[in-house]
Structure formats: structure tokens, C-alpha cells
Symmetry: C2
Subunit: 909 residues, 2 copies
């Protein structure tokens, strides 16, 4: 075909059709750019061409390109004359290669038309098989195969597929016909040739009465319509929804592959099978596959017949097995990755039908990459790039056994789907309040899942005693979510289908009623709440020797430092074990929520007596100093960034509504003695109420109005550092001022900190090195970063708040109201709280970094928002020349790998 | 002095002292830059020098510069030797000019040391008079004047002033001494020479016992200490607070003027007086002043003796009166502005002591500028620049008579000071709820001031029936504030001193109790609530012929177009009368708060039946169409920008807390019948509750989730435009999409609008020109403005929200909590909600405008936040090349003037 096409006066720009064996020409035309070849031919077409190129046998065929598809869709869904001419030439070429002829009853050529887009969209677009059959050629096929049963089965399938796919008819009358025949006894396997012949006739009349036309007998018309149907299916609702959900761009289009049919169901000398070149579950280097004799591909996939393990082929068809083994080796060598392939044996001849990089578990993914590199098949840097960082997340949290979960879902045991707030799997007895959760969890040693409408600081003791947490309300930054992530407890929030009936101590969801104490399983990684118990798999980084190897390699490529967000010595230890080289964010007020401390915090806020406030602060100082000493010990020699108190004070107070309810009850009971103190408390809480607390009295604003709190915190830090130093521990505190938006704000806070630090050093006679830096989380701070840089020793971007303010989105509200709609309808490409919005938020960060770098030299710049653990965002931070990212301890390995990816993809930095 | 100094080897950089008659040299040194001269010499020094320069008689003296002050403050508060040398030379020069000698008992030179900063800070810094007196010179003075009473009074004043000002002693023992003498009968005027001599001795012993030193007799030491005291007073607490409050920069420093004393109290041939060259109240061209014979300046100011009208001087001292008239004419001619001058007549000789541009009422300010221009004394452009735009605000709202208000404040009738949310003065009976306000206001025709803890949509009927509104809670964007500004009703919010006792129908504030129905006066321009009734003055633009003239001149210079924010035909008419050339912001949902409409809005939000929702929308459509027709009629031929619905839906629902209280009552009463519907409503309201509504489901987000509301609104606009067109009215709707942060968001909303518009035009057969534009009020929108520019027909910056999001400040919360602290402590230079933060918010606006101008040509850019009426912000918008600003109708004249100022100050644009 290449030689025939070459000299023809077809404008190179309007080259719509490429035969599989023309792939060299395609590469040449596209300057050897593999990405562009994939985009033009689609994944399936490009891979088939690639197989042909390395000398393995595939059925001949050609690809009508994705460009043809987009042209077709833009020009009112008409195939242009030019395009059709090229398809006809492709068919001529196919006839030459197969030595068969379209529509020739003696020796009919049959083809399939299959969609094949750049990115796999399984089942989303159309396919038509057995094209070329009509009343005459079916007889020819019957004669050639000696199997009229087979021939008419093929024919009726074509009619049915053509009717439903190309003409959009309802499948129901066709299925009804089959079902009627079935009532006479037996199923399709038992139908005779006469049965199929009769069914074929019935299908043709169904077609005629629904369309007013005869089923088209001209194979060229069949092909043309099938190509048009494949192309049109790109804009079908199913396909568009799928693309929106998976973020595939809509302008790519699908290719249509026209391929000669081969049949694995031509008798005992024919077969069809699928195989992976390695074990896709474990990654072990051992071919893994199955096949069926006298069967078609669908039969293997459908699992209606028991397939045989691939090893059996060695004895049943030894020559074909050798061909198969050779193909496996050659494909893996060529694609330098584990392959997932389909083959058919037609009358003893081995054909490859498809190959692609095989899907695999995260575990297998890591092992295969490491094995390939160790075997020298790929370089170490390629091995690092082989594994998607996000994949390894699942390796580090407990998770459910895949099959058991699938079974549970099939059994409709799914109770609710909420927001996956903190990853990992957990199983336990439901408890509806924190005290019971503590009683069962801490005292009786039972596994507990705490289920609450929402959580408050008062609930923390129950949360810590639970294996998992579910709330019906709240978003990914709600109290439950934040605390759960902090402590690594699996958590699902906003599971709004669940209704809790506290009176009867039960919940209802999806018409299922579950009583307190019954078992549920929750998957914090996916947001699923499932009734009953599922088996979980626990893992540790040390157990993953392949992962450890891969991460070691990754570390040698990355330039970003990885720190962790950790508030306790325990978290700090995990972080260090996972490879963190510092703490990028210690939220100093998180310890305030501890039930032992909260009363003192509340006393500090609510008292009107200075003496009592001082007393509360002294108590808190003791606690915080101990915490910080522990942190310094865990992170000996590594930097620890302390963020000063950030949230508004009312977050530490009792809930306003609950208190109001309590007061109501007291009134009804006439308990005027307790009433007045509660009413006073309510008044105080209302005094602290803000209409938009996110943008209210918090962060540095709070510190400037109530400096006594940060005075206590800074004293705790410095005294802890002094004590550490005396024990020979190298403490490296970096004190971070949150929410700065104005230079004077930063200066004023810095002055307070320096004053306390001077005092502490003087009192102790020990000098401590510390730095004071600025957290950038307000858009205005980005615009004045150059000025801040002259005063600030380091910067850390708080991208959660920065995203909220830059978008004007309150995360809690947005994720509950409009954000799902925005994501479903493609108004936003991704959730900006998961993956940094590089266009908007990113441009402010870029502005700030530019200003900082222009103003000063080598100032430390990091990020401590949740984006610090998101691979796509990490790539952006690398590009911007950040010094480090900080993320939750469990995401440190992901960040290490992602940072390596970023460095390898953008080596020019 | 000039000649003596010139050749002396004093480094020009270290020239600390300038005599008044050296002003030409100062100008030469500073390249003729008047601003720099003022900065160096301070206002008082520069003006005295200026008077000398034009040949009028002032007492000789010299200025120790502001640079000397700052040098002194930076070098540990020591006068350098060099500085002191120059001062001594200044004194020598003074002795030559006055032919008197410091410390010479025969002919003593007496001087004053007076502070004089760049900007007037009345009473904030120190002054010492009568320097040069001691036990010897006092006798000389006594002999020279023949008035020992006078001489010893001067002396004891010096001791007292020196003790308190220079040495910081307590004034109390000095006053006690005077008071003791008074007990013997008579007051100071009746004290004999012997009395004063005795008192002087007593003062000296007070001084000695408090300081352990004798009162210094060396006049040079007196001068040196006085200069140091004046300089030090720049950093006194009083002065710093004053500068923070008035935004005077701290690095300017004060000058110290050392001036020969002249005395108006040397007998009947001496006098002292003050005068304005025109009437400072009305601006009328008629000298206005008063004087006292045999008196000192303080006596006139203190008002302890009855001063005589200046005209009397013509008969009492005709020669001096002629000198005075000549001085007035010459000063006004030279300074080209009305002057406020002080003079002293010493033994028949007329001395000018001071002159400055006179403070005046806004009314006088305008008239003087216009009169000066009409007389050819200044150019018209200068006249325009003569009047500060902010000044004319007071002319256009009703206001209190100045004197009556002052008297009321002196009588301690001030009840509370809140946030000045909507300007203007109002007097009326207090009503504590909306129904009563309506009953009294609308039905009985009484003037009512509604006082509430806060207001809700349910209160609007009462607000409309009131002359003024006061709330105890809420900030400048609270419901009360927004509605009040919309309807031009004077309003004070956040008057937190007021406590309302609804049970007893009274309020308490500042220990005063006021019962419902009593009269109060509120000044929405200043935020004061005053008990009782004050007389008000009402004005209209048409009455102000001078203002009209000035604004006409202003219009010829400005390039910014001025539009108004108006929601009703009534507002639109006012706006047009005030000179608006379009509506820059019609908040289409403001009409929803009308009591006639609110139930339909609530029905639309709360119903679960589509039919009922459609019915509610149909009703609202009728209302809105009528509103919009009225607007088009009022603005025939001019553009009207309609902002589609912006606030979150819960703003239209009843208050959650009140409803909860109501439910409580129903429960107590056991009224279970009404209970369930109320409880359902509460549940619905809670469903709409958001934790940060400012950043929640509002603006375009709301429109994309519930498109039926904007479909109704756009239909109302288009149908109104069609109806207008049929009546021959030229309607120019510009439809604005609020809160856009992403291009796809804008596109999706645009598509909805265009769909409805197409339908309306097709249905009516009338084509309407309309445009669709984007409101920029989210930081992210600034970063993508270039992309938006390709889809958007115009832009309007909503700087209120943009300021909130850029700072991360919720205005309501911030103005109640930390913002006052920030402003008091200089952390923020100004309230960014009043005057645009050009550094931060401005840099985002600049970024956006750059992108828009780069992407497209001549797209209309405006601003519709409250900054559109703020002069400083208008200057910024002019600089950025905006096309228009839009502000409240009452601020249109201010904006016209401010836009002219901007254009005249920045002619290069």
C-alpha cells in the first residue's frame, strides 16, 4: 500500500489512512515522535503497527486516523470523498495481503472495524465484527470452513451488531428471538446450523421492519457505515462522560482500525487466549494466561467456559506454544514492559491480535520495574519513571483484599460513599459516640469504627481509640478529616446517605439498618462504607524490598527535599522512617485538642481574670515544651518548621448549637442554677462567632491581638531547644508565621518572637539557632513576597488556604455544594484542592517565587499544603525551583518518587 | 545672616538653620521645589519666610530644620556641636535685626521656640514662650515697658512652661499656687505686680524642689533646652497617635522656629487678633476676624474676653487697620487662597505672626475656589484642584448644624459611636422593631429611627419607613449597611455600646436609658448617635450653583466616565441628576428583599415542587421586568450594567437563630401543630447553611447549579428592553456575570444567557443589543483575565470582594475584630475597604488590565466596588487606564471631581 500510495497525488496533509505495515513511514512523517504517532493512530492502531514492525504476525489491516475522525465530526459527520478513496485503497491492499476478496462468495474477506483512541476507554466506543458477510458470502464461508453453524452464527452477529451499533436499533427484539429459541431447549452452543439460518432470517426481518430498508448486502456500504459509527461514537454521551471523569481531552478523536478477521472457533485446531508476560498481581517473572480451544476472544473474557492455563498449550499445540513464547519475549523486549496480549490460533496458525502494557497492581508495578532494571532491560531512571507515584500510596496503607471487596459490592453491601478524607482500610464495631468508642477501643481492646454526624474537639479521645471514622457531614477539611489525617486513621466524611438514629442507637443507609456494635468495613482510600467485615492486608515500607530499592534510585535523581507534616513525636518517627529529611509543618495548636489540654485552652480563652489566663498558659507551656522536646529528639539534626497558632479561637470552644440545645433542656427542667453559667458561656461563644471564620481572626492576626498565646508557644519551642541542646540533641527550629498578608504584620509578629527568644536565651544562658519565616497562603502575600523576602528567613506556601482564597472557594462548602457539579461538567479540569491549579494559583506562586529570588539569594522555599504530596503538583513545585515539599508522613514515599519523576522529566532545571 | 553664613565653611549638607529672610537661598538650594521647602522648614517656618519674602512685617527669627530634628532624634537626642553653633549664629543675627541683646538687662531680647511640622498637628507638640527672661532681664523688661505686672507675669509663665514642657514636671503645684492666690480674691487680671513677683519666687522654689536645680538663668541654656524639647516632642505619644490617626508619616520630623517676641499686651496701644480673608463658613468674599486690645494671642483663642469685630480696628487704630487690610490682600494674592492669619500690634506697630490657608466648610471651599477662578486669581484647573473631592460629600447629604452638634457633644449627649455605614444626618423617634417603624413612619408620618441588634430581610419594610437606622452588631457590609446605602438612608452599624432591652422597650448606653418613642439624632457620616433632637440642613445639587460650576469645569478635564450603582428607577434618576453617564452596577437581587417579593423568593428556594417553583419564578419575572423597564426609562440612551444574582440563597431565608427560638417557644407551649412545619423549615435553612458563605455557593456558581434564577432574570431584562424599544426608549443592557474564576465557568453561564436572549428576541420579533461581561472579584480571575478577554465583552472590577479575597479578610468580621487594631497600630496604613490597597489588590488589578489590553483592543473596563467613589482609589483607576468608575448616586459628584484631580495630577496619561 505504501508503494501504491506514495506516488499518488494525495496531499500529505490529507493522508487519512495508514496500513499497519506502513508504520516506518508514519514515524518518518512525524519526525520519529512516538507521542504523535500514538495520537494520530490511537493506542490500538499504533501498537498493532508496532507488532508488525518487529516481525510478529498480526492480521493485516489499516488505521483510519484520529485526524480523520475529528475532520468527520467537524464536517457534519460525512466521510469526505478523499477519505473514502483512501479507505477503498486500504481495502484493496488488504485483499492483496490476505489473498481474499471482499464480497467474493468463493473466498470472502471478512473484516472488523474497531475504535482505538489515544487513551484506552474500554467499552465506551463501538466495534463491528464480521463485516463482509451477506447472503452470498455466508455460503462461501460455510463452504470454506465446512461449518455452516459457524458461518450463520457469524452472520447473525453481524446483523445484530450492525443494527444496534450502526443504526442505533434497540437490541431487545434480537435478544427476544434468541430467548424464544432457547425456550425450545438448550442454549446457543446447542443451536444447530438450521437454527442459526432461521435466526438470521428473523434478524433480517427485524432489521427491515425497524428501518424500512433491507440489511445492506454490499460489504463496502457495511464498512463505510461502520467507520462512520465508530467515529460518531467518540461524541456519544457515554464516551463524553467517561472522558470528563478521566480527564481525557475531547479534541483527540478516535481512530478506526479495519482488520482482517481471524477465527479461533474453526474447530479443535483453533484457539484464542489472553496472557500477561509476568504475574500482574505480584510482578513475578512468570507468564500468566489462559486460553480456550475452538472459541472466540469474547468467550475467554466472558468466562462462560472454563479456560485452560496457558501452560497446557505446550502439549496441545506445541508449535503454536513456541510461537507464543517467542512473541512474549519479543514484545516485552521491544516495549520494555510487561505486556497484556491477545492471540488467536486459526487452523494451527498463531496470530497476535493486540498487545499493550499490562495493567497491574501497585505491588507488581514496583517489582516489574525493579526486575527489568536489574535485568538490564531498562535503565534505573526508566524503572523510576515506570511506576506512577500515586500507585504506591495503596502499598503503604492497610487495604482490603481486592476480591473480597468486589464480592461485597456485588452482594450490595455498600452502605454509603463519602469523601475519602484519610486513606486506608479498617474494620470494626460501630460506636456512635466518643466515650463508647474509647471504652470499647482503649479499655476493652476492640476494633471500633466511630460514626458521628460530625466531630468536635470533644470527640478526639474517641477518634484516637478508633480504627476508623465516618461522619455524615463535613468536607475534606472538616475537623474529623484533619484530625484523622494527622493521626493516620482511615476516615470518610460527608457520607450523607447515612442517617443516625441516636435514640435507637442505629443507623440507616441504603434501606439497611445497622445497630451499634455491628461490624462495618471502611475504605478511606475510596470513601466506601461496607457492612460486615472484610479481610485487610497490612504492610510496612521495610517489607517492600522492591519499593525500597526503587525509592533509593529515585532519591539519586530528585533535587527536591521531602519533609513531612507532623505534629507529634510519633508522626515524626514514621516520617523519618519513610525518608523525610525534616518536618515542614508542625501545627502547634493541634495538641490543644487533646482532652487533657482542651480545658486549659478553653480557660485561657474564656476567663476574664489575667491571673487565671496566665495560669492556663503556664499549664499549656509545660505540655507544649514536652511535645517539642519529643519532636527535636525524633528529628535530631533535621529542621522542624513550627507554625504558630492558626485557627480561630472558637474552634477550641464547645459547639454553639449543642450548647444552645443543652440550655433548652435546662430551661425545660427548670434548672436555673446551672442555666446562668451556661448562658454566659453561650454568650462568650457567640462573641467569638464569625460570619466567615476562614477569613477572620486567625493566624498572625490572632497573634497580634492576643500575643500571649504565641509568647507561650515560642517560649515552649526555645526552652525545648535549650533542653535538647543540653542532652546533645541538635534542634533546628524554624518558626513560621501563618497568614501574613502585609509586611508590617510580619514585622510586628517577628518582634514579639525575637523578644521572647532573647529572654529565653538569656534566662537559660544557652544560645539557640532559630529562624523566623513566613507562610504564604494569602494572595496578597504573593504580591509582596519580594518585600517580605528582606525580612523573612524562609518561605513556605500554604497551598490549601492559598487555593481557597485565590478561587474564593471555601473548601468545606464547595466540596459539599458546587465543586462536584463543576468536576462532573468539566467546568474545572481537576479538584484544585487535590492537584494544584497551576494556571491560577500557580501563576501567583510563580509571581511570588520570582520576586523572592530577585530580592534575595538562595532563600529556602517550601510548600506545606496537601499539594506537597500530590505528584502533579510536585512536578510544578520542582519546575518553580522550590527547595522542598512537605506532606503527610504516609505520602513521603510518593513524594520522593514524584520528585524524581519531575527531575527526570524536566532535566533542564 | 545670609551674608555671614555664606562664606563660612559650613558644609551645605549640614546646614541646619535658616533665617526667615533667607528663603530665596533655601529655594535655590532645593531647586525651587516648594514641596521640599515645606518639608525642610515645616509649614509655619516656610510660611513666615514666605511672608517676609513678599515684604510684610514679621518678627525676625529663624528655623531649625526638620532635618535637624531627625538628626537629633537619631543621635541619642543630642544637639550636635555644629547644629548648636548655627543656632548661636542665628541668635546673633536676631540680635542685630532687633537691636536687642539676649540676657542684657538693659534691652533684653525675648524669643519663643515653636514647633512647626510639615503638616499641621495642632496642640500635639511643644512651644515655649518668653525665653530670655531671668532675675535680671525681668527687671529690664519691667523698666522698658514700665509695667512690672506684665514683666513678672511673663517671667512666671516662662518658668511654668519651661518646667512642664522642657523638664516634664507636673503642672499641678504651679496651678495650685495660682489658685491659692485666687482664694484671696480676684483672678489673674486683678493680681498686682507684687503678687506676680511673689508667685514667680514660689514657681522658682517649686522648680528647685522638683528638679534639685535652680531654674536656669542663662538664656542660651533656655533656648538650647527648648529646642531639644520641641524636637523630642515629635516622638511623644500624643504626636505619634495623632500621626497614626491622620496618616502623617513618622520620618518627617518637626522644625523649631525661634522667633523674637512681640507683645500685644503692652497697653491700650497694643492688640492681638486673628482673621480670615474670606468668610470660612460661606466662602463669601468679606474679611472675617476679631481682636482684643492689650491682650495676648492666647486670650483671643481662649475666648475668655469678648473680642471685638475686626472692623472696629478701623476706628480704634486706623493706621494699623490699613496695614492689616494691605496684608490681607497681599497674602491672598500671594498664596492664591483664603488665608487664616494672626497678628499682633505692639505699641502701634503691626506685626504678622502667622498665616496659613484657612480651614473652611466644604461649602466655603467650593465657593472660594470658584470665586478665585472667576476673578482670574487662579486658573479653572487650579480651582478644581483647590477643592478636595471628599469634602463635597458633606454638601450632598443632610447634615447637622455644626454648632448644635458640638454643643450636644459638650453636653455629653453622645450615646454611642458605631461604623458610619451610610452617610447623612437624621432625627426621629426610636422604634425597636420594623412593624412599629412602619406604623409610625409610613402610616402616622412620623420621623423614625429604627434601632435593632441587626437587621434581616424581614425588616426591610421598617428600614424603608425610617429616617435612619442603627444596629448594635454587624459591619459595613452587613445587611443593614448594604440596604441603607442602597436607599440612601443614614445608617450606623456596630454601635456595640448600645444594649437593647426589648422587654422594657428601652435601650441603655453610656449609662443613659432611652425609652422607645424618645428622640435621637444620628450622624451616618461620622457614626455618632446622640440623644435628643439636633437641627439638620438639607441640600440639593441644584441649590449649589458654585458646586455645579466647579463640577462642570471638572468634567472638562477628566477622562474617566462616572457611572452609578443603582438598583431602582428612583436611584437611577438621582444618579443621572448628579451627572452619572450610566449605571455601572444594578444588583438585580436587591429587589428580592422587598416585602412584597420576599415570600416568592423564599417559595422559589424552599419548594420541592417544580410547578410551584416555576410559579414563583413567573411572579418574580413580572416584578423584575417592571423594575428593569423603569431603569431603562430613567437611563434612556445610557448603558445599564446588570449583575446577575450574587448572594447565597440563605440570605433570603429567615434567620436560623430566630427560627430556632420560635421553635423553642412553640415546644414550650406544646403547639405541635405549627411545630412540624417550622422544624422542616429550620432543617431546610440548615441545609443551606455554609461555614464561609462569602466563599460559598453564590454568584456564577449559584447560577450554574440553579440556572432557573438567571434564566428568569435575563428574560426580565430582555423583555424589558423589548418593551422599552417599542416605546422608543434606547435600552443598553450590559449583563454581568459575578464571581467568575475560571474561563469555563464564564462560558457555561454565557451559554445560558445567550440561549434565553435568543428565545426572547425570537418570541418578540424585536432584536435587542446586549453584551455579556465578566465581573472580576476573585484573585484567580485576575490571573486569567487575558483568556477571559477573548470571551467577555466588558469587565468590571468588584473591588469589595477582590479586597476580601486578596487579603483573606472577611470584612464583617475584620472590621469588628482586628482591623481597628491594625489601623490604630499602623500595621495597615488605611482601611483597604475604604481606599484601594494599591500595593496588593492594585498589583492584581494591574496584572489583569495588562492582560486584557494585551489580548484585545479597547475593551471596556470599569469598577463597581465601593472604591469607585473613593478619591484616592479613583486616581489609581485613572492611572490604570480604566474607562469608568461606578459609585453610589450620592458620590457621583465626588467621583467627577476626583476623576478631574487624577487627570490634572497625571496629565501624561
Amino acid at each position: 500500500m505504501h508503494t501504491r500510495h506514495g506516488p499518488i497525488a494525495v496531499d500529505e496533509k490529507a493522508r487519512w489512512v495508514w496500513a499497519f505495515d506502513e508504520v516506518e513511514a508514519v514515524y518518518k512523517k512525524l519526525d520519529g515522535d512516538k507521542e504523535r504517532v500514538l495520537t494520530l493512530l490511537g493506542g490500538k492502531g499504533a501498537n498493532l503497527a508496532e507488532i508488525a514492525r518487529i516481525g510478529l504476525l498480526i492480521p493485516p489491516g489499516f488505521t483510519v486516523t484520529t485526524e480523520a475522525c475529528m475532520h468527520f465530526l467537524k464536517t457534519d459527520k460525512k466521510l469526505s470523498q478523499d477519505m473514502w478513496n483512501q479507505i477503498e485503497e486500504g481495502i484493496l491492499h488488504l485483499e492483496e495481503r490476505t489473498e481474499k476478496e471482499l464480497g467474493n462468495p468463493e473466498n470472502p474477506l471478512l473484516v472488523s472495524c474497531r475504535s482505538g483512541a489515544r487513551y484506552s476507554m474500554p467499552g465506551m466506543m463501538d466495534t463491528v465484527l464480521n463485516i463482509g458477510l451477506n447472503d452470498e458470502t455466508v455460503e462461501g464461508l460455510s463452504k470454506a470452513t465446512g461449518d455452516p453453524r459457524f458461518a450463520f452464527d457469524c452472520y447473525r452477529r453481524l446483523i445484530q451488531m450492525y443494527a444496534t451499533v450502526v443504526r442505533g436499533l434497540d437490541d431487545e427484539p434480537f435478544e427476544a428471538t434468541l430467548s424464544q429459541r432457547r425456550k425450545k431447549g438448550g442454549n446457543e452452543a446447542d443451536f444447530s446450523a438450521a437454527d442459526w439460518r432461521l435466526i438470521t432470517d428473523q434478524f433480517k426481518s427485524i432489521y427491515r421492519s425497524a428501518t424500512g430498508e433491507d440489511f445492506p448486502h454490499d460489504p463496502l456500504i457495511q464498512i463505510r457505515s461502520a467507520v462512520e459509527a465508530v467515529f460518531s461514537s467518540w461524541n456519544g454521551k457515554r464516551a463524553i462522560d467517561y472522558r470528563n471523569a478521566t480527564h481525557i481531552e475531547h479534541h483527540l478523536g478516535t481512530a478506526c482500525n479495519v482488520v482482517a478477521m481471524v477465527f479461533g472457533n474453526l474447530g479443535q485446531n483453533s484457539a484464542t487466549g489472553v496472557a500477561f508476560t509476568r504475574n500482574p498481581s505480584t510482578g513475578e517473572k512468570k507468564i500468566f494466561g489462559e486460553y480456550l480451544t475452538n472459541a472466540q476472544g469474547e468467550d475467554v473474557v466472558a468466562g462462560t467456559r472454563n479456560a485452560k492455563p496457558i501452560e497446557r498449550l505446550a502439549t496441545e499445540m506445541p508449535a503454536c506454544y513456541q510461537d507464543f513464547l517467542k512473541a512474549c519475549a519479543k514484545l516485552e523486549e521491544h516495549f520494555t514492559d510487561m505486556q497484556d496480549l491477545e492471540f488467536t490460533i486459526e487452523n494451527g496458525k498463531f496470530w497476535l491480535l493486540q498487545t499493550r502494557n499490562g495493567k497491574r497492581t501497585p505491588e507488581a508495578s514496583v517489582r516489574i520495574a525493579v526486575d527489568l532494571a536489574n535485568a538490564g532491560a531498562i535503565k534505573r531512571r526508566e524503572a523510576v519513571l515506570h511506576v506512577e507515584p500515586q500507585q504506591i500510596d495503596a502499598l503503604l496503607h492497610p487495604r482490603f483484599h481486592h476480591k473480597s471487596k468486589r464480592r461485597a459490592l456485588e452482594e450490595k453491601r455498600l452502605l454509603a460513599r463519602g469523601i475519602n478524607a484519610s486513606p486506608g482500610a479498617a474494620v470494626g464495631k460501630i460506636a456512635f459516640d466518643a466515650d463508647l468508642a474509647e471504652e470499647w477501643g482503649s479499655k476493652q481492646g476492640l476494633d471500633v469504627i466511630m460514626v458521628r454526624p460530625f466531630t468536635r474537639p470533644d470527640d478526639v479521645h474517641g477518634m484516637l481509640a478508633s480504627r476508623g471514622i465516618v461522619t455524615c457531614e463535613g468536607g475534606a477539611t472538616s475537623h474529623a478529616a484533619v484530625v484523622a489525617r494527622q493521626f493516620g486513621v482511615p476516615c470518610i466524611v460527608g457520607a450523607s446517605q447515612i442517617e443516625i438514629d441516636l435514640e435507637n442507637r442505629c443507623l440507616t443507609s441504603q434501606r439497611t439498618r445497622i445497630t451499634e456494635g455491628e461490624l462495618v468495613s471502611i475504605d478511606g482510600t475510596t470513601g466506601e462504607v461496607i457492612s460486615g467485615s472484610l479481610p485487610t492486608i497490612e504492610t510496612q515500607l521495610d517489607e517492600h524490598r522492591y519499593l525500597k530499592q526503587l525509592l533509593d534510585w529515585a532519591d539519586s535523581y530528585r533535587s527536591l527535599e521531602i519533609r513531612a507534616n507532623a505534629d507529634t513525636p510519633h508522626d515524626a518517627k514514621i516520617a523519618r522512617r519513610y525518608g523525610a529529611s525534616g518536618i515542614g509543618l508542625c501545627r502547634t495548636e493541634h495538641m490543644f485538642f487533646d482532652p487533657e489540654r482542651l480545658p486549659h485552652v478553653q480557660r485561657m480563652i474564656l476567663t476574664e481574670s489575667k491571673a487565671e489566663r496566665d495560669d492556663a498558659l503556664r499549664t499549656l507551656l509545660e505540655f507544649q515544651r514536652k511535645d517539642f522536646e519529643g519532636l527535636f529528639q525524633s528529628m535530631d539534626g533535621l529542621p522542624v518548621v513550627f507554625r504558630l497558632i492558626d485557627p480561630p479561637l472558637h474552634e477550641f470552644l464547645p459547639d454553639r448549637q449543642s450548647l444552645a440545645d443543652e440550655i433548652f433542656d435546662l430551661r425545660v427542667l427548670g434548672r436555673s442554677d446551672e442555666l446562668s453559667s451556661k448562658e454566659k458561656l453561650l454568650k462568650q461563644i457567640e462573641h467569638h462567632h464569625e460570619s466567615n471564620p476562614m477569613m477572620g481572626l486567625r493566624g498572625v492576626r490572632l497573634s497580634l491581638l492576643h500575643p500571649e498565646i504565641i509568647r507561650m508557644q515560642v517560649r515552649a519551642m526555645l526552652e525545648a531547644a535549650v533542653n535538647a541542646k543540653r542532652k546533645g540533641i541538635h534542634a533546628r527550629p524554624e518558626i513560621m508565621i501563618p497568614l501574613t498578608s502585609h509586611l508590617e504584620e510580619f514585622r510586628a509578629a517577628k518582634e514579639i518572637i525575637e523578644g521572647v527568644a532573647r529572654e529565653c536565651c538569656e534566662q537559660s544562658g544557652v544560645s539557640v539557632d532559630y529562624t523566623i519565616g513566613s507562610m504564604i497562603e494569602i494572595p496578597r502575600a504573593c504580591t509582596i513576597a519580594g518585600g517580605l523576602a528582606l525580612e523573612s528567613a524562609f518561605f513556605s506556601f500554604g497551598t490549601n488556604d492559598l487555593t481557597q482564597m485565590t478561587f474564593g472557594f471555601s473548601r468545606d462548602d464547595a466540596e459539599r455544594t458546587f465543586l462536584p457539579h463543576y468536576l462532573d461538567h468539566g467546568i474545572l479540569p481537576t479538584n484544585p484542592f487535590q492537584s494544584l491549579d497551576t494556571e491560577g494559583v500557580g501563576s501567583l506562586i510563580h509571581l511570588a517565587v520570582d520576586e523572592i529570588r530577585a530580592a534575595t539569594d538562595g532563600l529556602e522555599i517550601g510548600v506545606c499544603g496537601e499539594h506537597g504530596g500530590d505528584p502533579a503538583s510536585i512536578e510544578f513545585f520542582h519546575q518553580q525551583g522550590f527547595n522542598y515539599v512537605s506532606c503527610s508522613p504516609y505520602r513521603v514515599p510518593i513524594a520522593r518518587l514524584a520528585a524524581a519523576h519531575a527531575a527526570l522529566k524536566l532535566p533542564e532545571l
